[in-house]
């Protein structure tokens, strides 16, 4: 695997770091600003739901597919939602072909954990018949251009794809699956909307939404998923360490930022008719 940290020269790294320490970012943003977020939905005809989210130049397309399968024995009346991420080599010279690497596993996992602990997916609505048939929902994120902070973009992309989805309604009749002709849509599948906020850290400076050069020079990141009133997931990565006070400050800030972005993005607008 290429060592992505080497891509940025020491001079450039120092330059970015020195400026960050003065609270200045190379793209002119404040420490707590997101880049521009663009959302398109329902763009893939073959998918049961889809979205393209651009966060600055970072670009992720997510599609939803479903299968009908048996439930897990310990959750006989709940459907299943699995989240996958592919860092396409098309998206960056830093990405390589081959099986999922650590970075793509991390992306899928952090998005998954936010969704899983937020009471986001209504898994009981995904049950066709207890013990027999449930929907298995696949949320597959494809990174089309990599310019830093895949996690926050991936989270919004996954949520929007789910909200925009439309899944044929099935019933079991005499042991056979039949389609009613009706559909489940995002309103049926999704309840809470967990948003993920990722912060970089370099030296003592912490900042929101690292762009690619910042991601390459920073010592570590922390991603915090929040719903309207709860923290639902945290993931620290990289070798940076955080004091307990710093963590407490970031949690508070994430709750505030979450409220703000939640209103601004208004993701429920991407719901489609049944």
């Amino acid at each position: 695997m290429m060592n992505i940290k080497r891509v940025i020269s020491t001079i450039e790294k120092n330059y970015i770091a020195e400026n960050l320490k003065k609270g200045e970012r190379i793209d002119g943003r404040g420490l707590w600003d997101y880049r521009k977020i663009d959302i398109s939905h329902d763009i893939i005809k073959s998918a049961e739901g889809s979205a393209e989210v651009k966060l600055g130049e970072t670009d992720i397309i997510t599609g939803i597919k479903y299968e009908v399968g048996e439930p897990f024995p310990d959750l006989p009346d709940e459907g299943v939602c699995t989240i996958m991420a592919e860092l396409l080599p098309l998206a960056s010279p830093l990405f390589e072909r081959g099986p999922p690497d650590e970075q793509s596993i991390e992306l899928a996992r952090v998005v998954d954990r936010g969704i899983r602990h937020a009471d986001c997916i209504q898994t009981k609505k995904l049950c066709i018949k207890e013990n027999e048939a449930v929907y298995i929902i696949f949320v597959d994120m494809f990174v089309m251009n990599y310019a830093g902070n895949l996690i926050d973009a991936g989270g919004i992309s996954a949520l929007t794809a789910l909200i925009s989805s439309r899944i044929p309604e099935g019933v079991m009749k005499d042991g056979n699956l039949e389609w009613t002709g009706n559909y489940l849509n995002g309103k049926d599948l999704v309840k809470e909307l967990p948003l993920i906020m990722t912060f970089g850290k370099i030296g003592d400076i912490i900042f929101l939404d690292p762009n690619l050069p910042e991601e390459l020079v920073c010592e570590g990141r922390i991603s915090i998923s929040v719903t309207k009133d709860k923290i639902v997931s945290i993931q620290k990565s990289g070798v940076a360490t955080f004091s307990i006070e710093e963590i407490q400050g970031l949690i508070k800030r994430s709750m505030e930022l979450g409220r703000e972005i939640r209103n601004k993005l208004d993701l429920w607008q991407y719901k489609v008719d049944k």
């Binding site: 080599p89 098309l90 251009n145």
Partner: protein, 253 residues
């Protein structure tokens, strides 16, 4: 998103008015939209909508070859990686690249290589990544077409562009540019590609069943369609230069 639940083939592929199911005439192409320079990280890139197909191509190179032993001391190599997104088809595709994807990658490689001057780039590779995000028949031809565009966008020296289209036979009649349903339920499929510098076919496959006469006529149908696709490619390339020009001129104001 899919409106049908079962992937059942229709009885007939022509409507009562003699047009194809999607309203096209026999030798009419589906709507095609092309754009270059869509992936900022790539050395060159292009995006293509062809009917319901949505395909991205990105070119990286000339760059180091991994693994090294694939490098050739006397020339560059071309590597094409054709992939389909899991959600690009009716039934979710497994994420790992399958045999079909590898095969199509090889075919597109063979098809693009004749227009490149690989002898100028010893020890290096051009890598073309093709991602089919939405598929509806003819993806190998559409992919070839968009990959050629991405190579041109990357400024890679080329003898000419390459254009590609599938012709075929449905319900016993010869048609141009098979859609997904026509591909599956039809009688024969003839994807081909042309290298314009010598006007010869660099991709040619055929599956189905045709008489000599039908095959000869199909090749001529393909030739006509390839001309149209070539024009669309040239227009897409020009519109990028035009917009750059406008930016530059705008900057001089």
């Amino acid at each position: 998103m899919p409106l049908i639940i079962n992937d059942i083939y229709p009885e007939k592929l022509f409507r009562e008015d003699g047009k194809r199911l999607d309203g096209r005439e026999k030798n009419e192409l589906r709507p095609i939209k092309m754009e270059v320079g869509v992936i900022s990280n790539a050395d060159g890139s292009a995006y293509l909508e062809w009917g319901n197909n949505k395909i991205y191509a990105a070119v990286y190179g000339p760059r180091e070859v991994h693994p090294h032993h694939l490098a050739k001391p006397d020339r560059g190599i071309l590597r094409v990686f054709y992939r389909m997104a899991t959600f690009s088809v009716f039934e979710r595709k497994r994420p790992a690249p399958g045999r079909r994807e590898k095969e199509i990658s090889m075919i597109i490689t063979d098809c693009l290589e004749p227009v490149l001057f690989l002898e100028l780039y010893p020890g290096t590779a051009f890598e073309v990544f093709i991602e089919v995000m939405d598929a509806d028949g003819g993806t190998r031809c559409a992919s070839t077409t968009v990959a050629a565009l991405a190579l041109a966008d990357a400024g890679v020296p080329m003898r000419s562009l390459v254009s590609s289209v599938a012709v075929g036979k449905i319900d016993g009649q010869l048609v141009t540019d098979l859609s997904g349903i026509e591909d599956k339920a039809g009688d024969a499929d003839l994807p081909c590609a042309i290298t314009w510098f010598n006007e010869e076919l660099s991709l040619l496959q055929f599956d189905g069943d045709m008489s000599i006469e039908e095959l000869n006529e199909s090749l001529l149908n393909a030739r006509n369609a390839l001309d149209q696709i070539h024009q669309l490619q040239l227009t897409a390339l020009k519109s990028k230069y035009t917009s750059i020009l406008e930016e530059v001129e705008g900057g001089e104001d």
